[in-house]
Symmetry: C2
Subunit: 287 residues, 2 copies
């Protein structure tokens, strides 16, 4: 007899007639305690709801998105449950895990690490693709075929990569300022080298620009990119656009003059992303 995975409610705040919650649980795949944000829209009171997973960027916890993005009003409008996990395992006593902002704590990169000292805990890919969806489905009433995924920067990489690899789990994809070609840029190279080792064949499995050519074609991906993004050289939207064009994968890439890499950029366009997912998932109210 299997034991139900348990959830502990850390906080809940009324928000746009729903509830912004934070939960804590023992993550089996990560072998540590994890927290995630979950917005329950008002519609969740009496019907199963579609689900969006939000993946955050470097240094973030579950808090950044739920406090700064202004997402709740759109989740309430469309009736989405929104799940915002933390960005890495925490408190695992791994040597060096807190030494830099772009490796270890706050920088899980949504991969399954194979290298020491990371391999035991740093399995964010499995956590986001398997454990967390099962947990959410177990504890909340969801529409099983109306799940989407989006994210920002490192989390935009996660959203593109996980969405492209799991089209039956996540049927809609979008990203803000994603790291689209991690194998080619310093952030990705540092993390992939540490987590995955020297063999670049293994990196390809987590690289959106390389993945899109093999992906099962799904609905259009929406990518927003600010032209004043201070990290633009780590992101390479033009490579992802070229890869999608070559693979004939539908992509809407929008460039926004003057916008940077911050949550001010995300908040300015988050409403469009909710409308995009609602449209891709066939929800009625797509604004």
């Amino acid at each position: 007899m299997s034991v139900s995975p348990s959830l502990e409610l850390v906080s809940q705040n009324r928000s746009f007639a729903g509830w912004q919650c934070v939960y804590r649980h023992d993550a089996q795949r990560l072998q540590c305690e994890m927290k995630f944000g979950l917005y329950l829209p008002p519609q969740a009171e009496d019907q199963p709801c579609p689900v969006l997973f939000w993946l955050s960027g470097l240094t973030c916890t579950e808090q950044n998105f739920i406090t700064k993005a202004g997402a709740q009003q759109y989740a309430a409008l469309h009736g989405f449950i929104v799940v915002a996990p933390d960005t890495s395992p925490r408190g695992c006593q791994i040597p060096g895990a807190d030494d830099s902002y772009d490796l270890g704590t706050g920088a899980g990169f949504y991969v399954n690490a194979t290298q020491d000292p990371w391999a035991r805990h740093y399995r964010m890919y499995d956590y986001v693709v398997s454990e967390l969806p099962a947990l959410i489905s177990h504890h909340f009433k969801t529409e099983p075929h109306q799940w989407g995924i989006f994210g920002h920067s490192m989390g935009g990489l996660g959203a593109l990569m996980i969405g492209l690899k799991n089209p039956s789990l996540f049927q809609s994809i979008s990203a803000f300022a994603p790291i689209t070609a991690p194998s080619l840029v310093p952030w990705g190279q540092k993390a992939f080298h540490a987590y995955l080792g020297e063999d670049r064949q293994t990196w390809a499995a987590y690289d959106p620009v390389q993945l899109v050519s093999q992906a099962t074609q799904g609905s259009e991906i929406l990518v927003d990119q600010g032209d004043a993004d201070e990290f633009l050289e780590q992101l390479h939207p033009e490579l992802f656009m070229a890869a999608c064009a070559q693979a004939n994968y539908p992509l809407k890439l929008r460039r926004h003059p003057g916008y940077d890499h911050s949550y001010y950029f995300i908040a300015s366009f988050i409403g469009d992303h909710f409308a995009h997912h609602a449209r891709c998932l066939g929800l009625g109210k797509d604004q």
Copy 2:
């Protein structure tokens, strides 16, 4: 020949086609350096704009409102410049100023202190009513007769009190979970005792419940209050309602079941407050 007060731009982020800025300046009234947030809506590019002052609550800096309230989308919609000052002088080396969250740093209460060791720096009333409006008018193109004021908790007290005392400067008023009767509750008594001394006559000049009876009648005040507010006993909305009724001052007090004292509450209703100010100030687009 007077020297123009100077402003230093600390940061600017593109937001809803406008700019969320933070400025630093030498505050003459406070004898210290101060920062404030200022949102410049897209309309500011080619026309003078109406202005809203937001006053924050205990422990806040200029950052809380600009990152968490989701105000920029409504400021852009209605074309408001939104000014969000810090909540106290900082770095003044006053003994005890950092000892508690509800007195000193982060807790200026928007009064002019008369008591040592506060009197030299803690003049937030003058700062908000005189210095900051002059500075904003000098550096930005504003509509001089379309200014409003709003705030939260201690800043809700500030908005009600400053608005009621300065109807020609601020023609519209609203508040979230304001401390309406500071003379009667622990937060207000502690601060007023320290800043203003024993004589309760001097407290009355900063107490909305006492001020409303002498106020020149203006447009309707909007107050939003969550019923699950964890600080409800410090706020006394019912006393303010009674005082407004007695004075025949128009008030719309809304109580919201389940909402607490947090920015999740503010974000849920901030759009209504912008619409309220737009209506009171006679702007076209009052949504």
